[in-house]
C-alpha cells in the first residue's frame, strides 16, 4: 500500500462521489425512508450519499451482494425443445458507502461462506464489481456489541476504503484498506491533502470515545467451546423464551447467509429462484416426511446461536459469525437478545437466575 490516506473536506468528498456517479458507478448509501427509518438504497445524487442519516439502517446492506430473492434461471418446455435462460445481471461497478464497520465485517463473513469452494457464481460476480467504504461510528447504540465479538467501531475488516468523519471540522479522513480501494481513489487522490499525525490522533480519540460508550460486556474467550458442550443445556429453552419463530433476526443480520430454493411457474415454463431463509422457521428443517429434527423453537434458536458462536468459529479460527450490529436485538418483536443469550450460556448460569438479581420493580 503506497498511499496512507487523505484528509478531505466535505466538499471534496461530495465532489468525488459526484465524479464516481457520473462515471456510471452505482452508489449505494443509507437514505432516510418514508417511515422514519433509514435503508441502504441506490442514490441519484452525491449529496444524498455524502450525508448519511445518523441512525443505523434497519436492514443490513447484504442484499446488494446477496439479494433477498433472485432468479437463478428460467426454463421453458413449451416449444419444440427445452430452453434454459439466465436473467440479465447488472454489469456495472457498485460502491457501497456509509457502512458501519460491523456491516462491512458482516459482508466479509458472507465472503467466507460464498467465496470458499465451491464458489457461488452470482455472489462472486457481484462481489468483484463492488467497492466498500466503511465509516467509523460516532456513537454507540444500546444494542451495539461489536467489541464483544472482536470488532471495533472504527474497524476496517471487509472495507476497501475506511472513512472517518472528524468531529468539529466535519472533514473526512479516507484511508485505503485494499488495493481495490486505492485504485478507485487513485485518479482523484492526487489533489487531496495527505493525512497528518494530528488527524490520526483525533481519529483515535474519537474511536476510543465510541468504544468506551459500548456498554455490553465482551464474551468470554472460551465461549465457543463452552457453547459446544452446552448442546443439551436446559438454558436453551429459557433464552429462547418468547421466540415466535419469525425471520426478522436472520433477514436483518449482515452475516446470515442461508437461503431456500423454490421453483415457480408450471410444467411448461417457470423459474428457479433462491430467497433468504431463516433457521427460526419450522420449515427450515422439516423433512418431506413431515418429521422435523428441530421440532421446537428452542432447538431452532440454539442452532442460530451455535452456528454463529460455536460451529462457525470452530472452522474459521475463532472468528464468529456475528459482528455485533445489534439489529436482531432491536427488531425482535419478542425481546430475544442474542448477546444476553450467549453470555448466559457461556457463563453457565441460567437466564432466570441472572435476571432475577438484576430486575428493579
Amino acid at each position: 500500500m503506497t498511499a496512507l490516506g487523505w484528509h478531505l473536506s466535505e466538499k471534496e468528498w461530495t465532489e468525488w462521489l459526484r465524479v464516481l456517479l457520473e462515471s456510471g458507478i452505482a452508489v449505494i448509501a443509507p437514505v432516510l425512508g418514508t417511515t422514519g427509518t433509514s435503508e441502504f438504497q441506490r442514490v441519484g445524487s452525491a449529496e444524498e450519499a455524502a450525508a448519511p442519516p445518523p441512525s443505523r439502517t434497519a436492514m443490513s446492506p447484504k442484499k446488494f451482494l446477496f439479494p433477498q430473492s433472485e432468479v437463478l434461471f428460467s426454463f421453458d418446455f413449451s416449444g419444440e425443445s427445452a430452453t434454459l435462460s439466465q436473467p440479465e445481471m447488472e454489469r456495472g461497478r457498485q460502491l457501497l458507502v456509509g457502512l458501519r464497520p460491523c456491516d462491512a465485517a458482516g459482508l466479509r463473513r458472507l465472503d467466507e461462506v460464498f467465496l470458499s469452494e465451491p464458489e457461488d457464481p452470482t455472489y462472486s460476480e457481484r462481489r468483484q464489481r463492488t467497492v466498500i467504504v466503511s465509516q467509523a461510528c460516532t456513537q454507540a447504540g444500546q444494542s451495539c456489541f461489536c467489541t464483544a465479538v472482536g470488532g471495533s467501531p472504527s474497524g476496517r475488516e471487509g472495507a476497501d476504503l475506511a472513512l472517518t468523519k472528524l468531529e468539529g471540522s466535519g472533514d473526512l479522513l479516507l484511508e485505503p484498506v485494499t488495493a481495490g480501494g486505492e485504485e478507485l481513489a487513485a485518479p482523484a487522490s492526487a489533489s487531496w491533502r495527505p493525512i497528518t499525525a494530528e488527524d490520526r490522533a483525533q481519529a483515535a480519540r474519537q474511536a476510543e470515545a465510541v468504544t468506551s460508550a459500548i456498554t455490553r460486556e465482551p464474551l468470554p474467550p472460551n465461549a465457543p467451546p463452552i457453547l459446544a458442550s452446552s448442546f443439551d443445556s436446559p438454558a436453551w429453552a429459557e433464552v429462547a423464551d418468547g421466540c415466535i419463530g419469525c425471520g426478522i433476526c436472520a433477514y436483518a443480520c449482515p452475516s446470515c447467509s442461508c437461503f431456500d430454493i423454490t421453483d415457480s411457474g408450471g410444467a411448461a415454463c417457470g423459474s428457479r429462484c433462491r430467497s433468504w431463509d431463516s433457521c427460526a422457521f419450522s420449515t427450515f428443517t422439516r423433512h418431506a416426511s413431515g418429521h422435523n429434527p428441530r421440532a421446537d423453537q428452542p432447538s431452532r434458536y440454539r442452532q442460530r446461536v451455535m452456528h454463529k458462536f460455536s460451529y462457525f468459529p470452530a472452522e474459521h479460527g475463532g472468528e464468529m459469525m456475528c459482528v455485533g450490529c445489534g439489529r436482531c436485538i432491536d427488531l425482535c418483536p419478542a425481546g430475544v437478545d442474542i448477546h444476553h443469550a450467549v453470555l448466559a450460556l457461556a457463563s453457565g448460569a441460567t437466564l432466570r437466575v441472572q435476571a432475577r438479581s438484576g430486575v428493579k420493580a
Partner: protein, 469 residues
C-alpha cells in the same frame, strides 16, 4: 388456457383482448353457461371457466392467483340466494366476497376488474348478458397484463403521523410500580397454590423492548414479572399454534383489553379449553411509547377486559373483571388515516399500497406475532401448489399481505401486533382495521371478546348486502 397462453396475451400490445377468469359453481352457473352454449346464445369469447362444486368454495386467494397469472378481470358466479345446492354456501361467500371486494377497493384495485353474479342453470341468457357486461367493463379498465403495472411510483408525499391529542395521560411511575408488585404477588400466590403451572407475562428486557414476554414457572421466579406503560406483545399468541407455550394444567396469561379479544377468539375457535387458561387482566391505560399513545388505545373504553379471571391494578388484586371508573376516549386515529386514503383516486391508493407491500421482506413476523395466526402450516409455506410466490417480489408480497388480511377478516382482534412486529413498518394496522370497519358497515358486527359471540364471516343473514349482478 394454459399459464403460457395467459401470459402470452400480455405481450400482445395492440392486439390486446381482455381475459377474464370466471369461477362458477357446478350446479347453477356452470350449467347456466352450458345452457347458453346448447341454446346457441353467443357471448364474448374472452372468458375462461373454472368449475367449482359451490361458490362457497371460493377462497379469495383464487382471485389473487388469477390476477397474478395475468387475468385482466375475474368473475365469480353461483346459484341465486336460496337456490344453493348446499343450502347456504353462496350466502357465506356473499359475505366473504363483500369484505374482499371492499378490501380490493381500499387497496386501489379497479372495481371493474372484479365482478360477481348469480346465474341459475336455466339462465343461459343472463349468463350471456353478464359475460358481455363483465368483458366490456374489463376492456374499459385495460390490461393488467403484468404486475409491473401495479408499480407506478407513488406521488404521495410521506404522511407524518401526527395523531390527535390523546384522551388520557400515561400512568405515573408509582402506578406502574404498584401494578408490577401486585402482579408479582398474584403470580406468586397462583403458583404457590398450584392453581396454575405457568404464568405468561412480561419482564424487563435487556434488549430493545421495554417489556418482553417471560414464562414464569416457580413462585420465586415471579419476581421477574413486570408491567410497564409500554408492554407490547400480545401474549395470547403463546396459547395455541406453533408458538404454544402452555404447560400441563392451567396456564395464566397477562392480558390487556385488546389481547383479551384474541383470547376470546381462540376460545370461540376451539383452540384451547377455557378451563385451562387463567386470564390476568392488567389495568391498562394504553400503550405509551416515547410519550405517544398507540393508535389502537384512543377509543379503548375499558382498562380491564370482561374476560379477566383476575384484575390487577395499582390499587390491588381483585377476583374477576374489575374495570376502573369510566374513562375518556377519543376517535381512533386509524379511522382518520383510512378515510384519508379512501378519499384518494384508486390509482393513488394502489401506488400507496404497492409501495407499502414492496417493503415486505417476508419475515412473517406479522404472522408469528399474531395470536389468530395459529395454523400449524401456513398457506405461505405450501409449495404444492405454491399459492403465494415465495420470492419477495411484487406479486408475492401483494398476495401474502392480502391473503393474511383476508384470513383475519372477522377474526382480527385489532391489537396491531402485526404492525408493531413488522420490521419494515408496513401499515398492516390500516389494512386490518379497514376490514374491521368494512365488516361493521356491511354486517353491523364487530369482533368481541365474548367467546360466545358469533364471528361475522361464520354466519349470514338473508338481507346481507348483495353486489352480485
Amino acid at each position: 388456457m394454459t399459464k403460457v397462453e395467459l401470459r402470452g396475451t400480455v405481450e400482445a400490445g395492440a392486439r390486446w383482448k381482455p381475459r377474464v377468469v370466471a369461477f362458477t359453481c357446478n350446479w347453477c352457473s356452470y350449467s347456466g353457461a352450458d345452457m347458453a352454449g346448447t341454446a346457441r346464445i353467443g357471448y364474448a369469447p374472452n372468458v375462461r371457466l373454472v368449475r367449482m362444486l359451490c361458490s362457497g368454495r371460493l377462497d379469495p386467494i383464487f382471485i389473487l392467483k388469477a390476477f397474478e397469472e395475468g387475468a385482466d378481470g375475474v368473475l365469480v358466479s353461483g346459484c341465486h340466494p336460496g337456490d344453493c345446492h348446499y343450502v347456504q354456501g353462496n350466502l357465506y361467500t356473499r359475505r366473504r366476497l363483500e369484505v374482499f371486494a371492499n378490501l380490493m377497493e381500499f387497496v386501489g384495485i379497479d372495481p371493474r376488474r372484479l365482478s360477481f353474479a348469480w346465474v341459475s342453470a336455466s339462465e343461459g341468457v343472463k349468463w350471456s348478458r353478464v359475460v358481455d357486461q363483465v368483458v366490456s367493463q374489463v376492456a374499459e379498465a385495460g390490461p393488467v397484463g403484468s404486475w409491473a403495472v401495479l408499480h407506478a411510483p407513488s406521488t404521495l408525499a410521506p404522511q407524518p403521523r401526527q395523531p390527535a391529542q390523546p384522551p388520557r395521560q400515561p400512568p405515573s411511575e408509582e402506578e406502574v410500580r404498584q401494578t408490577t408488585l401486585n402482579l408479582r404477588e398474584l403470580a406468586r400466590r397462583l403458583l404457590e397454590n398450584g392453581e396454575v403451572s405457568r404464568i405468561i407475562g412480561y419482564a424487563h428486557s435487556a434488549g430493545g423492548m421495554s417489556a418482553a414476554p417471560a414464562f414464569i414457572d416457580t413462585p420465586e421466579d415471579a419476581e421477574r414479572l413486570a408491567w410497564s406503560a409500554n408492554s407490547p406483545g400480545n401474549l395470547t399468541a403463546y396459547l395455541s399454534g406453533p408458538n404454544r407455550a402452555r404447560r400441563p394444567g392451567k396456564t395464566a396469561v397477562v392480558v390487556k383489553t385488546c389481547d383479551a379479544r384474541s383470547l376470546g377468539g381462540l376460545l370461540r375457535e376451539n383452540q384451547l379449553p377455557r378451563d385451562e387458561v387463567v386470564a390476568i387482566g392488567v389495568s391498562c391505560s394504553g400503550q405509551w411509547s416515547g410519550g405517544r399513545l398507540a393508535a389502537k388505545c384512543y377509543a379503548c373504553e375499558s382498562d380491564i377486559s370482561p374476560l379477566a379471571d383476575w384484575s390487577v391494578g395499582a390499587g390491588g388484586i381483585a377476583d374477576g373483571p374489575h374495570p376502573g371508573t369510566a374513562r375518556a376516549v377519543a376517535p381512533d386515529p386509524r379511522d382518520a388515516e383510512i378515510a384519508a386514503l379512501a378519499s384518494l383516486p384508486a390509482g393513488e391508493r394502489l401506488a400507496f399500497w404497492t409501495g407499502e407491500f414492496d417493503r415486505c421482506i417476508r419475515c412473517y413476523a406479522c404472522r408469528s406475532a399474531c395470536p389468530m395466526c395459529y395454523c400449524e402450516t401456513c398457506i405461505a409455506d405450501k409449495t404444492q401448489p405454491q399459492w403465494i410466490p415465495a420470492a419477495s417480489s411484487g406479486p408475492g408480497n401483494f398476495a401474502w399481505n392480502i391473503t393474511r388480511a383476508m384470513h383475519l377478516a372477522g377474526r382480527c382482534a385489532d391489537c396491531d401486533e402485526c404492525a408493531r412486529a413488522c420490521p419494515s413498518n408496513i401499515r398492516l394496522d390500516l389494512v386490518n382495521h379497514s376490514i374491521s370497519r368494512s365488516i361493521e358497515r356491511s354486517f353491523g358486527s364487530r369482533v368481541e371478546a365474548d367467546p360466545a359471540a358469533v364471528a361475522p364471516l361464520t354466519t349470514y343473514r338473508p338481507g346481507d348486502p348483495d353486489r352480485f349482478l
